[in-house]
């Protein structure tokens, strides 16, 4: 039996689902796969909570070989890997994270541009996954309808701030690490989050109004391996890692869905108010947005990437899966 050393990096701590699922799904699955033949064993070195890289620093840590495997938060690298923002430029489309993961993985297989994106950063991607199954507005002030969002200061991870600006929301850049504090202290009135995070990070304590706007989900993470390391790995280990990454994506999607379902219940138990968006309002909101998907596709085309085809394939897959699409982003 041969032992392979692998360092896994994330700037976040295991309280965040993406890291929790690495420990509970990715690593055990890879271990199980390898145990089937018993030829190889991995000696995992977990470098979480910022002990090797800051949140956002994982990309460079994997690029330079400081870490072998990393969970890259694609949503915070709009400048480096814009191609992966596809979920963020197509809001109001789907709330099925496992579907998003399958569709994006299909796109990665079909369009070499996805893998080429990572070439520049000296890494190979195993799978695209996500956690934000369905963005909602968690607010400290009552929201009965979309009109109430006008004038609220809304915290978001970045690319999603554009969703709220057309309806009068004031965007404030923030992240999972400081949403709670900023809302508690009133720097933000509301935050763009999803059910699982509301439960896991106890957001109901600071924003008791849950406005389920069905903004939809987006691929947020990619599990990557340093390229040189990947090339030295035996095929059996490579395929075990791929299996592990797929299992991770499914597990994280299901985790988001399970906790997301409980979110509304947990919210009410803690004295919060839950308001479901009126479907007509949701359609109107989606229509107010500038065509951010088209802007994105144009920018991709300018870089020689078939952005329009990718967008069309993504939306077609969502239509085929009967998702609650409020706006056909590929049709102007």
């Amino acid at each position: 039996q041969e032992t392979v050393d692998l360092t896994v990096v994330s700037g976040f701590s295991p309280t965040v689902a993406a890291v929790k699922m690495l420990q509970e799904s990715f690593i055990p699955t890879v271990n199980e796969e390898l145990a089937k033949t018993g030829n190889y064993e991995i000696n995992w070195q977990e470098a979480f909570s910022g002990t090797l890289a800051t949140p956002g620093g994982e990309l460079e840590a994997v690029q330079t070989g400081l870490a072998d495997v990393g969970v890259i938060v694609t949503a915070i690298h709009s400048d480096k890997i814009p191609l992966y923002l596809i979920g963020y430029v197509t809001p109001f489309t789907t709330t099925d994270m496992v579907l998003v993961h399958n569709v994006v993985d299909g796109l990665v297989e079909k369009y070499p541009a996805f893998n080429e994106t990572w070439d520049k950063f000296n890494q190979v991607t195993l799978s695209a996954s996500g956690i934000a199954d369905n963005y909602i507005v968690c607010s400290a002030k009552p929201i009965e309808s979309v009109d109430d969002i006008d004038g609220l200061k809304i915290g978001g991870i970045g690319p999603n701030l554009r969703w709220v600006e057309p309806i009068g929301g004031v965007g404030v850049n923030a992240n999972l690490g400081n949403f709670y504090n900023m809302t508690q202290t009133g720097v933000t009135d509301a935050i763009l989050v999803w059910g699982e995070s509301v439960v896991s990070l106890k957001f109901y304590e600071v924003c008791p109004y849950y406005f389920n706007a069905n903004l939809g989900g987006a691929n947020t993470y990619a599990v990557n391996v340093n390229k040189q390391k990947w090339e030295t790995l035996p095929e059996e280990v490579q395929s075990a890692l791929e299996t592990g990454a797929k299992a991770y994506s499914v597990a994280i999607g299901e985790f988001a869905a399970t906790l997301g379902e409980r979110a509304i219940e947990t919210f009410k138990e803690n004295g919060g108010t839950v308001v479901q968006i009126d479907e007509q309002e949701r359609l109107e909101w989606a229509a107010t947005l500038p065509n951010i998907a088209q802007e994105w596709a144009d920018e991709m085309e300018a870089q020689g990437i078939p952005g329009n085809d990718i967008l069309h394939d993504y939306m077609s897959a969502m239509r085929e899966a009967d998702q609650p699409i409020a706006r056909q982003w590929d049709e102007n």
Partner: protein, 445 residues
Amino acid sequence: MAPYELGLISIGAIVALIYAGAYIAVALSLVSFVLVAMLKGTPIAVHLLTLAAADSISSQTFAVIPLFVLMGLIMSASNVGRDAYDVADHFLRRIRGGLGLATVTSNAVFAAVTGVSIAAAAVFTRVAVPEMLRLGYHPRFAVGVVAGSSVLGMLIPPSILLIIYAILTDQSIGMMFYAGIGPGILLSAVYCAGIIGMAFLLPRFVYDVDGRFADLHASSDRPRLSALDVIRKGGPLILLIVIVLGGIYGGVFTPTEAGAIGSFAALIIAIARRSLTLKSFWNVLLETGHITASVCFLIIAATMYSRALTVAGVPFWLSGLVSGEGDSFLLVMLVYIVVILLLGTIIDSVSIILIMVPLFLPILNGMGADIVWFGIVTIITVEIGLLTPPLGMACFVIKGSLPDNRIKLGDIFSGAAPFALMMLFVVALIVSFPDLVYVGRWFGM
């Protein structure tokens, strides 16, 4: 040789280099480079250094350092700090070691507006040390009191360390802030008792009996303050506290933004009192930059080293020591505290929290420990590292802000030692009586 063994040897190398007189940041980064080069090859060692140089301080956590330092230096340059200190001194000077008490008390109050300890260290070095020397206190004691009481800044809210801990462990920041109040008061009280005790039992430590700084002593008694003086001198600081705390708890800004707002408010107060010239303001800006640059360069280097230790698997090896099923709760806490104290000698506070808390949190959680209480124990223990050689951030800032070159770094460390011991005593108290963390429970609430 196992990588973690190389990691342990590297600790010895750093300590040796630092005591030999190497620049501390250089010693940390050089040893990190060599350690990672041996384990993973030179190219990766280069990346480790460069990446940490670029990303380790680029966050809100560190962006507040210059802002809080700026606030402190404006207060110092415009005599707001000194006046407040006069007021505290007015009420306490008849007690033996009274100026020490005044320093602790005014630091406790200052802690309510600052989120980082180094700002308090910089300010009170300027304000309290010259006053204490003038009245015949021993320089070692004077800098020791300042070093010791500067740690209150991180314990009494707002506090960057409490915020980092809360985010890391998914606790409410408000709850962590609340839990910092009681222990902050407790530590201040223990300091006061310790100072009075030392003034009676070890007068040679407290007062400059050998006359080493006789040239600075002034025999004349200072004028007494009238009630009006007390208001005039104490008022500006109170106003600043009201603005900063009111702003934070009134939801106008975050604790991390408080430094910038406080600087602005302090500047307005200084202008209103006509106590700050354009030139002295420019010098304040230059000096804020100096303190920030030297402290942040140390933090960058300490981050390099903590990442190198991660590469060597030292943290993993450490947690393996205590994860045994049969370990008793007290044994685990004891190991935890000892390890933090050791790491505290050479790594910065934030890095220690990032390394240690995630390792021990699952173990403590499994034992049913109170995570808020655990955080307070962690933070006080981590803060002891600010006072211990060879890398003691509070002592460095004091050295950097001291106008008098005759006080050496060694004087500051030995002056701070009794305060480090008192902190350890408070840690022991809180471990023995966990309820001490919640100030409400002191009164049976």
